[in-house]
Symmetry: C2
Subunit: 327 residues, 2 copies
């Protein structure tokens, strides 16, 4: 149905090689020839077949982005940035949603590896070994996952979490809870250890509340657990959970920030919560953009193993306040 290179060649009175070169290596051709061929091609509505090209060159012109949950507000900005940046290189993007399920992630990796030049794995839930195995076959860039030798873009929330702990300390909080995200998440591990370190340094009590899901609902149910712990502040794994905490506390009649302070992470909700959420910045879009650039670099022959750390800072809004007295 689409005209083939053959038909263009005949219509232009040249060989297929020439038509091919008119598009891929115009510098090798006489400028007039290029013009002629392109003209004829345009008239015929010729579009080079990506698959034929891929079969012969081994390059697909596509990349794949895998995320655990499109529904988590952290990812859309990331996805959008990847999309945009890939577009600049003329690459198309396969999106895979693993639904927080490692097996599905593996299946997607396998299924996709035959049609993409490389992968961006955002918050992968796979084991190091599994990721390494895939990286051995195709270039891989990791977002928020730290595996030596692979390309990494890390949103370094340790810094922001440290700021958050100090912020709470200054407000007089002495007993704090960390509401955790997925245990397989590098970000969760990083945030938890940063919180532990910060709390230890300042002599604060830090309780761990295990969140079920990194979502609004997960946060809401964690709120029910938190009210029993008598902490005066909670730092949540991410903004979704913090948002859920807000709702949970509100439902339980617990005032935020009067009775308990709440801090989120990722700053994907802006000032949209009520009260506006104090949170830790992330720059998910930067991460997406940089990860894509890094992947394109790898495809262009750069060495793997580069690590980019994006700094984070505390953004104080309205869910943190002076610790309540006598508690």
């Amino acid at each position: 149905m689409n005209p083939t290179i053959q038909q263009v060649a005949e219509a232009a009175g040249v060989s297929r090689s020439t038509v091919s070169r008119a598009f891929t290596r115009p510098d090798m051709l006489n400028p007039e020839t290029v013009a002629l061929v392109r003209d004829v091609a345009a008239r015929l509505g010729y579009v080079p077949s990506q698959v034929a090209r891929a079969l012969s060159t081994g390059r697909f012109g596509n990349i794949a982005l895998l995320v655990p949950d499109v529904g988590n507000p952290f990812f859309p900005p990331l996805i959008r940035a990847v999309e945009k940046q890939a577009d600049l290189s003329g690459a198309c993007v396969f999106l895979g949603n693993s639904d927080e399920n490692p097996e599905r992630e593996n299946v997607l990796l396998k299924r996709l590896s035959g049609q993409v030049d490389g992968f961006i794995l955002a918050s992968s839930r796979l084991s190091d070994a599994e990721i390494r195995a895939h990286a051995a076959r195709r270039p891989v860039v990791l977002v928020n996952r730290d595996i030596a030798g692979l390309g990494r873009v890390l949103i370094d929330s340790a810094q922001g979490v440290g700021d958050a702990i100090r912020h709470l300390h200054e407000l007089g909080h002495r007993r704090i809870a960390y509401v955790s995200g997925p245990s397989a998440s590098w970000s969760n591990q990083q945030r938890w250890s940063a919180a532990s370190r910060g709390a230890r340094d300042l002599g604060l009590d830090l309780a761990l509340i295990e969140g079920e899901q990194p979502s609004f609902e997960g946060g809401a149910s964690a709120a029910r657990l938190a009210v029993d712990t008598r902490v005066t502040a909670a730092i949540a794994f991410d903004d979704s959970m913090a948002h859920g905490l807000l709702a949970g506390f509100s439902a339980a009649g617990v005032d935020v920030p009067g009775t308990i302070s709440v801090i989120g992470c990722d700053d994907v909700l802006g000032a949209r919560t009520y009260p506006p959420l104090t949170t830790i910045s992330s720059g998910a879009d930067d991460a997406g953009r940089l990860a894509t650039d890094m992947l394109m670099g790898l495809l262009g022959g750069s060495q793997a193993g580069e690590t980019l750390r994006l700094p984070t800072t505390l953004i104080v809004r309205a869910t943190t306040a002076i610790a309540r007295q006598g508690s």
Copy 2:
């Protein structure tokens, strides 16, 4: 690097044809042969090359989903559902984000058409003619876009909007505003006309407030316009805008629902806003699932032109109340 069909054939002591058939038409082969081939293939880690297959069959095993804005909370559930449903058919999904830009949408369509079996266009911003042109080349299913002859999944918010108007009428509201979304959006047109019709039938005043962007920010700035109109209730194009309205009114010291009632559309925020948003249900996930099924049907040879209308209903939460007196 990946084993080819040839190597599997040699290792199994059969011809390439046989290996091919062992995977695509096992019924044509002796069961033992199938078992043997599959065994060898598995041992070698053989995975059929999608592109080679596509080149020879003309089928790619991929579909593309185009949305105007991944960041709009309406789309993630839709994306997720498409992803999940496509997975059942073993298809991979290209995601395209047009950023509300028709040109980009066209570019994506063109670029992708060489590697997908069909498209799902969600809330397309293209003209009917453009969409028809693309549909002539590849199967297309539309979500929230009504073009005769093409596959359509329509979230019929007319019904829900009618309910919303009646609900406001019962609460004593007489002057209502509709805060509009993108003019190129079918949903926006449908919602606006349903609101007009409902208002006319009940003898209500309906003002049109033109929203800038279908986003939180767009709603927030529309709120500033709304306070001047002296309406006692506003229906927003979608939940994002309604959410922005809430924030805008709050910033302006206007009480919701005391002074003004607010109704959203799509129910993607659940009860996460403050106050919990009265809204119109959508079932974006159903739409995604059904659109994918429909597309798969088209690929399987069904006739195009089918229309699926998904009903909507009003979900009353806490942003609507009795109209203020003496206004």
